[in-house]
């Protein structure tokens, strides 16, 4: 392009953008509440990201139908982080700087969340976790602009340990993925299981994306344990259970999993029946809010909501409650409103406690089986533990009680 043509073009562009901005300025009063969702759309965790997005779309539909939040429509902006923390930070920066989007949620991987925490201040943003499990996010890595609505890995381990206190099994093994969340989970379980007087024979860390679990299965068989704690997710979990089923390991050892994922149960089919675990979202929890959510979800998607669907929904309900209490979508006002906020959602009553912004969730222990009303096996609630027992000490991943 010649210099002259370029100058003309720039002038025209400037004029056009000024004109375009005008109606936007006039519409400012009725503008949407923007929520940024930097999630995994392509890559290893794409399944979890697709669940996050579908729940957001459902929530938008439901919220718009009842007039929005503070009378304003809700707008979700999705960005693909590919599960890479560096890309996550970059994409979120764009959400903040280009789209002026300062409310963030829907991040999948704990290390992505950890990478974002130090930046929240300079972004003037608030970040609400729907599913990040690493205990350190509300402990060593705590920042005031971060809230965690979901059950953390230590909380999941805690519920299981409380259940195991009264269970017949005495000797346990733990196997986890060698990622931040897996390490947090295993460490928490070890501390908890010893507290309740049981024996943890060994901890196994399988490399991320491990394919062959036969050496670990052999190790578990050799150890003579009666129970095995499993902190594996997605591809790793399915590979482990498929191979363990071939060894008929579940006939000798009861598995207890930290995450009960419907997607995995669906694939494993009847091989999943009998699996016990700590559920981050108890599908069969019989309260009004949950029944309404499940009905709406299944009517919309013809599928059983998975754990991250339920957790995302609860997180959004908490977010909207905070926005309405603050009568604003300005980040620091949301932070102030969310502290000690009590909401009842699909998992029952939740309080976002002030000292470390961890949502106090009840603990649910489930066993996978056939349940009336569902075509696939699902996790049926076996025991519920009160919030005071399952939420760790303030700014910590451990429990003093």
């Amino acid at each position: 392009m010649t210099k002259l043509a370029r100058r003309k073009f720039l002038k025209g562009a400037a004029a056009a953008s000024a004109l375009a901005a005008a109606p936007a300025y006039l519409k400012a009063q009725a503008s949407a509440i923007k929520i940024g969702i930097p999630t995994v759309i392509t890559g290893g965790y794409a399944l979890l990201g697709s669940q996050v997005m579908r729940t957001c779309r459902l929530v938008k539909k439901m919220t718009d139908a009842r007039g929005g939040v503070l009378g304003r429509p809700v707008e979700f902006l999705f960005q693909d982080t590919q599960g890479d923390p560096a890309i996550c930070v970059r994409r979120t920066q764009e959400l903040v700087e280009r789209d002026n989007c300062r409310i963030l949620s829907g991040v999948i991987v704990s290390s992505e969340a950890a990478a974002m925490l130090p930046k929240l201040e300079s972004w003037n943003a608030v970040f609400l976790s729907h599913g990040n499990g690493d205990g350190r996010l509300t402990a060593e890595l705590f920042v005031p602009r971060f809230f965690r609505a979901n059950t953390s890995a230590p909380m999941g381990a805690r519920a299981l340990a409380l259940y195991l206190r009264d269970a017949p099994q005495k000797k346990f093994m733990a196997i986890a993925s060698d990622a931040a969340w897996g390490r947090s989970s295993n460490t928490a379980f070890e501390a908890q299981i010893k507290r309740v007087g049981k024996d943890l024979v060994d901890k196994i860390y399988a490399p991320v994306a491990n394919k062959d679990y036969s050496p670990y299965i052999t190790k578990i068989l050799q150890s003579g344990v009666e129970g095995c704690y499993v902190a594996l997710q997605g591809d790793e979990a399915r590979a482990f259970y498929s191979q363990a089923t071939q060894y008929k390991l579940s006939q000798r050892v009861q598995f207890f999993t930290e995450i009960v994922a419907q997607a995995d149960i669906k694939v494993l089919g009847k091989d999943a029946i009998g699996l016990m675990g700590s559920s981050r979202y108890p599908l069969t929890y019989d309260i009004a809010q949950n029944r309404a959510f499940v009905d709406a979800f299944m009517a919309e998607y013809k599928e059983i909501p998975d754990w991250s669907d339920g957790e995302m929904y609860q997180a959004l309900m908490i977010l909207f409650a905070a926005i309405e209490k603050a009568r604003s979508d300005e980040p620091m006002r949301i932070v102030a409103a969310m502290e000690d906020l009590e909401v009842t959602s699909v998992k029952g009553p939740i309080r976002m406690r002030k000292c470390d912004h961890q949502g106090e969730n009840q603990g649910f222990v489930v066993r996978v089986g056939q349940h009336k009303g569902f075509a696939e096996p699902v996790g049926e609630i076996v025991k519920i533990y009160p919030r005071e027992m399952t939420t760790p000490d303030c700014r910590s991943s451990s429990y003093s009680t």
Partner: protein, 309 residues
């Protein structure tokens, strides 16, 4: 148009960029420039020496993690930290280069891959130091020396990266046009003959690989300072694959070509992923098209059009 004039024009435009584009675009541009430096460093091996490396992520990752750890633990000024990281990378690169240049062709490529994957695995082994899958978070940009701190902001950092890119380009170009480059050309065309002329071809190749790692390490160190974050993905073989694509798509053996390839790659990925989640499909198809129909890469395309015009 002479080379000097073209360079001056490009440099001039580059200097004005931060004043013309919005802040969030600057983030993408800085990333693209860092990748350009990274791609150019690989071209030294691939284009000038015909040594295809499948493990250049090692240089990038080494530079990034060295910078990350130095800046986080030693509180030295940013530029000193980056310089130190480059020195450490070069030091580590010497034995690696020496071992790899024992072989040529596919064996060389596989050895470089082995070292990169080893580096990746080591990150998890020394978890306390490197943070394992978490990586190193919160890398600072300490000011100094003499209280200089203009690089602490995004615009300032852009100029820092630009300076490093231009400086490295000029240095590499000078080296490749010197006697050293002439010997490399000889090795490239007919190594046996060059050897018989009395040149220690292995030493030349090793030197090229070390230089390549050094410049790649500089790119990695700049990245660590920019993102404030270093993670294991930097060492992963996919990163090596991407930078190799940038070099070949851009046009190997030209220094400028790979830079264009990097810019093309970063902007294409950025724009496409906003628009569709089918972007990897389009991406891969574009590469296949390049290989089939434009073997000279982007630079080759531009030169042909320029010649025809």
């Amino acid at each position: 148009m002479s080379w000097r004039l073209a360079l001056a024009l490009v440099a001039g435009v580059a200097l004005l960029v931060p004043f013309v584009v919005p802040q969030y675009s600057l983030t993408v541009i800085v990333s693209a420039l860092i990748f350009s430096l990274f791609a150019m460093s690989l071209d030294l091996m691939v284009g000038y020496c015909r040594l295809y490396s499948f493990g250049h992520a090692a240089a990038y990752g080494l530079g990034a993690y060295c910078a990350a750890l130095i800046l986080t633990h030693l509180q030295v000024p940013l530029v000193i930290g980056i310089a130190l990281a480059v020195l450490v990378t070069v030091a580590i690169a010497v034995p690696i280069a020496w071992i790899c240049t024992r072989s040529t062709g596919v064996s060389f490529a596989m050895l470089t891959l082995a070292f990169a994957q080893l580096g990746y695995a080591m990150l998890f082994r020394f978890r306390e130091l490197t943070g394992g899958s978490d990586g190193v978070v919160g890398i600072p940009r300490p000011p100094g020396p003499f209280g200089i701190d203009w690089f602490q902001g995004k615009t300032g950092y852009y100029y820092l990266v630009l300076a490093c890119l231009l400086g490295s380009y000029l240095a590499c170009r000078a080296i490749m046009r010197s006697n050293f480059g002439a010997v490399l050309a000889g090795i490239r065309e007919n190594e046996a003959k060059t050897l018989s002329l009395g040149y220690n071809t292995r030493a030349y190749k090793t030197a090229t690989v070390v230089l390549s790692y050094g410049v790649g390490g500089l790119a990695g160190a700049l990245y660590a300072g920019f993102a404030g974050y270093a993670s294991p993905e930097l060492f992963f073989w996919l990163t090596s694959g991407h930078v190799l694509i940038m070099v070949v798509v851009g046009g190997a053996g030209t220094l400028v070509g790979p830079m264009l390839g990097a810019l093309f790659f970063v902007f294409l990925e950025h724009q496409l992923s906003q628009v569709t989640d089918l972007w990897p499909l389009i991406f891969g198809s574009i590469f296949i098209a390049f290989v089939m129909f434009f073997p000279g890469g982007i630079l080759g395309l531009l030169r042909r059009r320029h010649a025809a015009a």
